[in-house]
């Protein structure tokens, strides 16, 4: 069976939707972060797929994906550090309890 572009895009969009849903509904900050990763990976898949099918001779999409993965790794480390610090400060990782960052 010949794989076509939709076969990649549909799982990607499902992944992205799951990410958005998780991001909006989960209360645990770690879970929110996992949802965020999900969205990022969905986007990465999109990049690779569009590169492969629309511009087969070029490498930009691939490079971009690698780049995004690297950034995502750094960002995850940072986010985890923030979460740990928040936990130390308020003994809690429930996002609905943490709403002090306003005016």
């Amino acid at each position: 069976m010949e794989l076509n572009v939709l076969m990649y895009l549909v799982p990607a969009i499902v992944m992205f939707g799951c990410g958005v849903y998780g991001f909006l509904t989960r209360k645990n900050m770690i879970a929110i972060m996992i949802s965020l990763e999900l969205m990022l990976n969905a986007v990465d898949i999109n990049f690779v797929v569009f590169n492969r099918y629309l511009f087969p001779g070029q490498m930009e999409g691939m490079m971009f994906t690698l780049f995004a993965i690297a950034i995502a790794a750094a960002e995850t480390a940072l986010a985890l550090a923030i979460i740990i610090n928040v936990f130390r400060a308020v003994r809690n990782v429930d996002i609905s309890e943490i709403s002090k960052l306003k005016f």
Binding site: F23, L24, I95, S96, S99, K100, K102, F103
Partner: protein, 659 residues
């Protein structure tokens, strides 16, 4: 000596101001004083060199065809507003500028030296703020020197202001004393008000003549550049020519600095400053700035008889008014302050009567006798008035009070000061051969040439001068034996204070023999003067009468002054209270201006202008409070909002593309 040295003359005091002012406490008190005095000595030597070269040297273009020229040493452009309107900042030497260099540096040097002793307590330890004091003296000297060598009228204005500022700083030197603070504010505000008119005058003048430069305004040798003035002569405003308005406004500026009636009220109060400052600023230099200004523009004033008449009337009235007040003052510095006002008024009057002394052209073979006499009197007066003030300082230092009731009979205790004071009194009274005689005599000749009335009036004031000066002298040094108040018996002061007295006394004796009529004339040509024996004789006679009367009344303790006071108590009280001018000012400012003008304006400002601003603030705050809950701090709510927004935008975009 090359004239370029005059740059150093002006720059050195400025440098001293910066050095002493910036180093301040890092410099020892005594060191600061010595550095300031030595720098002033160098400045004085250079200034003398420049002035003597200007007057007696040759070969640098100072005299062409027997006429003294204005030598521009340095004149770079400073502010270029438009191509026509360029403000320059520079140094130009003309006879009066050269003379003023000598006057300012001499008096300033004496004051620097004198202050070494005066600004110390009785143990000889320098006072707090010594460095600041010397820095301000440097600033003042710089401003005054910059003023007199100005190449254009705008530069004069700037240095006028700087003189005002340094005067403010020095009057308020004892800033912990409320009286000094009050006096410094008063001096600054009054002179500043006058300077507003000065600025108006400059604007009008420069608008019509298209120039600020003295060179093109009055020209070398005092001949007015009538071409430049032609346009201004045409216009009139309220029936008076625009030129007369401009010149009168400029005179008001000068009158503020020179303490002419009714802008004189700041000068007596300015005596709150340290006494050497009074000698420097309020006797010898700053107060003659107004006279100097009028003299500098003299060729223009000559063309406007109306402006000249204003000056003559104001001057003649002020001379008498101040002399009358001086007769009743018991504070010796105040008496000297009023004497200064009176003498400055002499100079102003002399300048103003100068224009119409046509009759004198036949007698003396030149015009502008009054101008010459005024400048000569400025020179001699600076010397003997500085002397009198420094003597007063020595007395106050010894006795610890300004009131003459605390003095009496000091002659035995302070012989040097007494003799120096006597020389000053003789000089100001116009007794030959002391300095004041020669200059005052020429002023009187000029006044008689204007009209018999003017001459008689000024002679009467001269007699009054002799009377109040000797009243002061006799009440301080004779009258009764000295009743000691302090721990120490009063005695002649430290050498740093007596040496300036001796030097200035010597100058006051011989200054009258300076051939001013060859040196400072309005057209640059030597003026042939001779002693007019009727005028000289009558003025000496009147002066002797004044002295005799003072001697009769005040030499030995008696009740004649008290009886006279009682007989004319109303007049005496009025004069003692300076004819209630201060009260009048108080009334006008507090009751009329503050109540009727300032209060409504303040109300308008607070309620209407501030109200509008407050309203805008309140509305903004209210709106902000309404939108503020949008920022809830709930991260997921933000994301939801963002998502919805993004979807809506995407939908809209797609709809647009499809339709």
């Amino acid at each position: 000596m090359p004239f370029s040295y005059s740059i150093a003359v002006v720059a050195l005091p400025l440098l001293m101001f910066l050095v002493l002012g910036l180093l301040d406490d890092r410099l020892g008190r005594r060191t600061a004083g010595v550095i300031g005095t030595v720098a002033m000595l160098v400045t004085t030597v250079l200034a003398y060199g420049v002035a003597l070269t200007y007057f007696f040297g040759t070969g640098q273009g100072q005299i062409v065809d027997g006429i003294r020229q204005t030598v521009t040493v340095w004149n770079p452009a400073w502010l270029t507003f438009t191509e026509d309107l360029v403000v320059r900042m520079g140094i130009a030497l003309d006879p009066i500028a050269a003379m003023m260099l000598v006057v300012i540096t001499t008096v300033s040097l004496m004051v620097h030296l004198y202050s070494l002793g005066y600004m110390s307590n009785h143990e000889g330890e320098p006072e707090k703020g010594y460095q600041r004091y010397y820095a301000f003296l440097g600033l003042f000297t710089f401003s005054m020197l910059g003023l007199v060598v100005a190449t254009n009228i705008f530069q004069v204005f700037i240095f006028f202001e700087m003189v005002g500022v340094s005067s403010y700083l020095l009057i308020g030197f004892y800033y912990t004393s409320p009286a000094a603070v009050h006096a410094s504010k008063k001096a600054f505000i009054v002179t500043r008000l006058a300077d507003l008119f000065f600025l108006l005058g400059i604007m009008i003048l420069s608008f019509y003549t298209r120039t600020f430069d003295f060179e093109s305004l009055v020209g070398t040798g005092g001949v007015a550049a009538s071409g430049a003035l032609g346009s201004a002569h045409g216009g009139t405003f309220m029936g008076i020519s625009i030129m007369a308005w401009a010149l009168t406004f400029i005179f008001i500026g000068g009158a503020g600095k020179s303490a002419m009636y009714p802008l004189h009220i700041w000068l007596p109060d300015a005596m709150e400053g340290p006494t050497p400052v009074s000698a420097l600023i309020h006797a010898a230099t700053m107060v003659v700035a107004g006279v100097y200004l009028v003299a500098k523009l003299f060729p223009l004033y000559v063309l406007e008889q109306g402006a000249m008449d204003v000056i003559a009337v104001v001057g003649a009235f002020t001379a008498f008014y101040a002399a009358a007040i001086a007769c009743t003052q018991s504070d010796i510095k105040r008496a000297l302050a009023f004497s200064t006002i009176s003498q400055i008024a002499f100079m102003m009057t002399s300048l103003a009567v100068s224009s119409s002394d046509g009759a004198l052209i036949e007698i003396h073979g030149g015009y502008g006798l009054g101008y010459m006499a005024s400048m000569f009197h400025l020179f001699t007066h600076a010397m003997f008035k500085a002397l009198l003030f420094l003597c007063a300082g020595a007395i106050i230092h010894a006795v610890g009070s300004n009131e003459n009731s605390a003095m009496h009979g000091l002659h035995k205790h302070m012989p040097i000061t007494s003799i120096a004071f006597l020389i000053g009194c003789l000089a100001i009274a116009g007794i030959p051969p002391f300095a004041g005689f020669w200059s005052k005599d020429e002023i009187l000749v000029a006044c008689y040439a204007k009209g018999l009335g003017w001459g008689l009036w000024m002679t009467m004031v001269a007699g009054l001068t002799a009377f109040y000066m000797f009243r002061l002298y006799l009440l301080i040094f004779f009258w009764s034996d000295h009743k000691q108040h302090g721990h120490h018996a009063p005695a002649d002061a430290h050498w740093t204070m007596t040496v300036p007295l001796i030097i200035l006394a010597a100058i006051s004796v011989v200054a009258g023999f300076v051939p001013a009529h060859d040196m400072v004339t309005c057209d640059g040509k030597p003026l042939h003067t001779q002693l007019d024996w009727t005028v000289a004789g009558s003025s000496v006679l009147v002066a002797c009468l004044g002295i005799g009367l003072a001697w009769r009344l005040y030499y030995k303790e008696n009740d004649a002054p008290e009886r006279m006071k009682a007989a004319a108590s109303g007049l005496w009280t009025a004069a003692y209270h300076r004819f209630y001018m201060d009260e009048l000012y108080q009334f006008i400012t507090h009751k009329v201006i503050f109540q009727c003008v300032s209060k409504p304006i303040a109300w308008f400002d607070r309620k209407v202008i501030d109200g509008t601003m407050n309203l805008m603030g309140t509305v903004t705050q209210y709106c902000a409070a309404m939108v503020r809950p949008l920022q809830s701090g709930k991260v997921q709510a933000y994301v939801l909002t963002y998502l919805i927004g993004a979807l809506v935008l995407a939908a809209a975009l797609i709809a647009c593309v499809l339709i």
